[in-house]
Amino acid sequence: MEESKSRHALALSALLLALFLGGWQLAISGGGGPVPDMDPEYAALMGDIAKGGSALPSPLDVAKEMWRHISDPFYDKGPNDKGIGIQLAYSLTRVLIGFLIATLVAIPLGFLIGMSPLFYRALDPFIQILKPISPLAWMPLALYTIKDSDISSVFVIFICSIWPMLMNTAFGVASVRRDWLNVAKTLEVGRLRTAFRVILPAAAPTIMTGMRIALAIAWLVIVAAEMLVGGTGVGYFVWNEWNNLSITNIICAILFIGLVGMALDQALHGLSKLVTYTE
């Protein structure tokens, strides 16, 4: 029963994809024909779009370009032209460093906030103000003060991914069932031991959810940050192709960004399975 259901879902996914690609192809071919009466010498100086070509590539164009990127992902032709694999690796490194630092700060701090109502109230206004700030608003400040564009991008990742983890950790810790804490108290378990043996496992699923949200945000942010700062990374790749108005490459980059984002999420999903429990 379970198997046939997933088979049905797969078939439906494939159907939706086929419909989408078909619609795309149809929309492209609907474009106007060649512009008549263009002087050939003048036409030689103009691009395809001005000559009546479609502004959007066909699915086949994108597939071809994707294949070109996948078949040679690690070429390095100088500082401004590297393969998509290298660009993704740059972005991933930045995201993971920023995310790791955010985790190291957010989880202990979240614990503290969750365990102490006083801290919770004292820090709450700061968190509420800092949480909704767009990552890109931090960028000029970071560039100016840190004076290094690489560290600035990592800082922006850090500052944006810390809030969901902090909130979720605090919430998870605060909402551990009273009964369990009371049992621990009755058994005269030390505070530290209670934290590690009772609260941490109990709050772990909530913390993991916070981490998943944070990682997704970090991956969203890095593309924007790299578009702003340039140099390396998949965000720079998008910007560089925007510069060239190459929609084909931008679509490729969108697909790559989506695939990597999904892989990151699946990895954390796998991890969170390890810590879930049923009451």
Binding site: L45, P79, N80, D81, L143, K147, S149
Partner: protein
Amino acid sequence: MPSPFTDPFDPQRALTSGCTCGQHESQRQHDDALESDAVLRKAESAGTGFGDSLRAEDSAGDEDLIGRTVESAVMRAIFPDDIKRRAFLGAVGATTAAAAIAAVFPLGAAKALAAEKTGPLEKTKLKIGFVPITCATPIIMAHPMGFYRKYGLDVDIIKTAGWAVSRDKSLSGEYDAAHMLTPMPLAITLGVGSPTVPWTMPAVENINGQAITLHKKHKDKRDPRQWKGMKFAVPFDYSMHNFLLRYYVAEHGLDPDRDIQIRVLPPPEMVANLRAENVDGYLAPDPFNQRAVYDGIGFIHLLTKDIWDGHPCCAFAASKQFVTENPNTFLALFKAIIDATAYSSNKENRKEVAKAISPRNYLNQPETVVRQVLTGTFADGLGNIRRVPDRIDFSPFPWHSMAVWILTQMKRWGYIKGDIDYRKVAEEVFLATGAKKVMAEMGLDAPNETYQSYTIMGKTFDPAKAEAYVKSFAITRAS
């Protein structure tokens, strides 16, 4: 403006050298050179930074000069008869002659051998930032075409998303030197829109080469008086683009702050914004004017050379700190840039340069677009092919008068307030004296003065009367 770059393959060149050492065209120039040498030596003993840096590599000899000497020696060896050599050059043209000789004689190797000596460089690995536009041609093409390598430098040129980022990365020291807009070193030195850091501008990159592009739907609005309420983009506040657009509309009676809207957009984002009709037009660097035409989005309304023929645009800039701490490296870099500028200036090289700078590593544009900009044979977006060979030119000399004009416009539009010593700031930032010395050393013609007057849309600018010039405008923010 005649090119300042003399050429050993020029069939019109004087046959005899008129001075005692044989390197100068007349005895007077020879004496002048000796005198400026003495002045610099004095500056050196006084310990001024730039004098030092300019002196340092003098004795090591200049590669370019050596290169030309070798070429000329080879030419003379093949055609010992002056008259015949000249007839040959005149008949086949200099490029063909050079190519023909290179085919039978390893010119490159001979040049490299002769130029082996170089001064000790403090730093050979450098990072230079650039914004991907054709104004940066010399800075960019020096990389694929080996001009940095020729002067012993291992340069990474890093593409930058816009001038705000470029300024911040330069201020933070991430870039050793950068492609900037001519007003930027002035603004940074004055601390306008930036922390106050002494900056220098050793060389201008390009003159002319910008344009006003409008969206196709404004085809009938060719008179700026019809532009009321339209939205325009410029690449940066402290840019020639901003000042020229303001000047242009103001001369047509529009107040650039009230009658139109001017917003800052990084050049690479301009075409996309024009397509989305987010802006009605822009005064922007190429290739984005030509790119809008190429994609059938807009048309070229006016080349900026028709506002002010010979106006400066982009510059090669570095912090004063970099120049004083790394005099030899700076000099080598400066020479590489001047050499690359000379090469780019030669119209015969333009197609080759367009090919070199179009790939993804540099401009990332279709070669057709870049070629149209650099050769000046281009489609204007209205169905005409225009032929303007000096649509863009490259000339390194940083005229002090250009700086003064920029400062007058900054004052006019309220970017700087209060009294300002135009000449002092200009002379501090634009290193014209140094440029003159190095250019002369490299066998290029440098002007004797550093100030000249300009005629901009029929109005004369005299750098000696800067304050009166600011006050002479009807539309102004200066009080």
